[in-house]
């Protein structure tokens, strides 16, 4: 049984991939409808997968609370907040209801923007700690970064109008060369990895060879 089911999985992987790839190149209504459905199926399966996550989370924090492990009061906060969101969302029946909107914009939005903005602080500490001209490569990285900063901040143009020009040239060069090569390489690398997954040579992303 296990063997058969694993073969079904390998076959499904190859066939579904082929359908979606062919749908991109061929003009065929059936293929298109099938590809759209498969895409939706993935969304549905992923929605079910969240249950595994929730179970895993509740298991860990429940254990923390019952065993009075370190940080157990925080586990209570976590589980209660989760419950409040689920109940509010399901009772009001919509994530755009005023009540739901209030708890969302009071908790999730400020924490999100704080963490997002914290990048600016970490850029500062990384600038001091990590941008060291230890090698010629590091020097190139550092010089390019400084010129781009002088291009982006209006102060650069005030110091000298040449600075943003140099920054602009570096930016154009970077997008036309290094970025281009990176993107091409990523495209080719993804194709190679994808092929190996499709034909069953690489089973790790499926959960290992077992």
């Amino acid at each position: 049984m296990a063997g058969i089911w694993r073969s079904v999985a390998s076959a499904a992987l190859l066939i579904i991939s082929m359908v979606i790839m062919l749908d991109f190149a061929l003009k065929n209504a059936t293929l298109q409808a099938l590809a759209t459905d498969l895409n939706n199926w993935a969304v549905v399966v992923a929605a079910f997968a969240l249950g595994i996550g929730a179970y895993s989370l509740i298991l860990r924090h429940g254990r923390m609370i019952t065993r009075k492990g370190p940080l157990w009061p925080y586990s209570i906060i976590l589980l209660v907040t989760m419950l409040v969101f689920v109940v509010t969302g399901l009772v009001t029946g919509s994530i755009t209801s005023p009540q739901y909107n209030w708890i969302y914009s009071t908790i999730v939005m400020p924490v999100s923007s704080s963490l997002y903005g914290m990048n600016a602080f970490f850029i500062a500490s990384a600038s001091y700690r990590a941008f060291k001209a230890k090698s010629w490569e590091a020097l190139v990285l550092l010089v390019a970064a400084i010129f781009l900063m002088l291009k982006n901040a209006p102060i650069g143009a005030v110091i000298s109008p040449i600075l943003p020009q140099i920054g602009g040239e570096i930016w154009d060069f970077a997008t036309a060369t290094g970025m281009r090569a990176l993107l091409i390489g990523i495209g080719i690398g993804t194709l190679a990895l994808g092929l190996r997954v499709m034909i069953g040579q690489e089973k790790t992303p499926l959960g290992g060879a077992e």
Binding site: M21, F24, A25, L26, K27, N28, A42, V43, V45, A46, A49, L50, G51, I52, G53, S56, L57, L59, R60, R63, L71, V108, V111, S112, L115, Y116, N119, F122, I123, S125, A126, R129, A130, F131, L141, M179, L182, L183, I184, G185, I186, I188, G189, T190, L191, A192, L193, G194, L195, R196, V197, I199, Q201, E202, T204, P205, L206, G207, G208, E210
Partner: protein, 261 residues
Amino acid sequence: MLMAGKAAWALITFVFSALMLLMLYLSSKKIYIPQIREHPGVHAISEAVGRAAEMGRPVSFSPGTSSLYDAKYAGDTAAALTLLNAVAREAVKSGSKLIVGISQPTVLPVAQAIVKTAYTMEGKAEEYVEGDTVRFYSPDQWGFASSYMGMMYRERVAANFLFGGHAAEALILAETGATVGAMQVSGSTNVYQLPMFLVSCDYTLIGEDQLAAAAYLSPDPAQKGTVFGQDLAKLICVVLIVIGAILVTAGSKILSQLLAS
């Protein structure tokens, strides 16, 4: 019937795939086994894990915030999972505690299976704690980031691995790792976040480096054949670019038009 504008796509995908599969075949039949330059970051994995074991501090791993069915970073996630396989085996062997932080629910069952297998194969199945070795944090990038940060501080991790599709939380995770003194190896195909990793981590697998690492980390040496196939595909791109540029200079836009057909 081919869709307009997709002929070039179909041809290139076909030619590249054929090359990669041919090279895979040649190396599996030992007709031509390519010598692949391995990234120093991959060798650093055992060094980092070993260091953590010596210090008696844990190893942490994040396979990214992109899902398994992401339309852009699925390959990134898949590569991160093969790297997780390598890291988990090293960690279990060295006896350090492993913590895998998961953001996407679709990645969770796969990561659980990989890590559980790694423990079972070393005969340490009882050390795998359900819900704790592989931890689900939050599908939201910032919910995940805050948990992963807190975990790195509280557990004082000594080795931190960040692979797969990370978004704007990349620098936050990497700088926190640097703050707690962890040795860090990272990789991504998200070109906007790569500079963040490169600056903050000890080793970074840039873009394709990470995807290729997935091949040569495989126990089957024949997989290196596809990496050589990748090289040939890139050489084709180089030739196309050079010839195309010369043609355009001569006033012919034929190659550009062909690629758009």
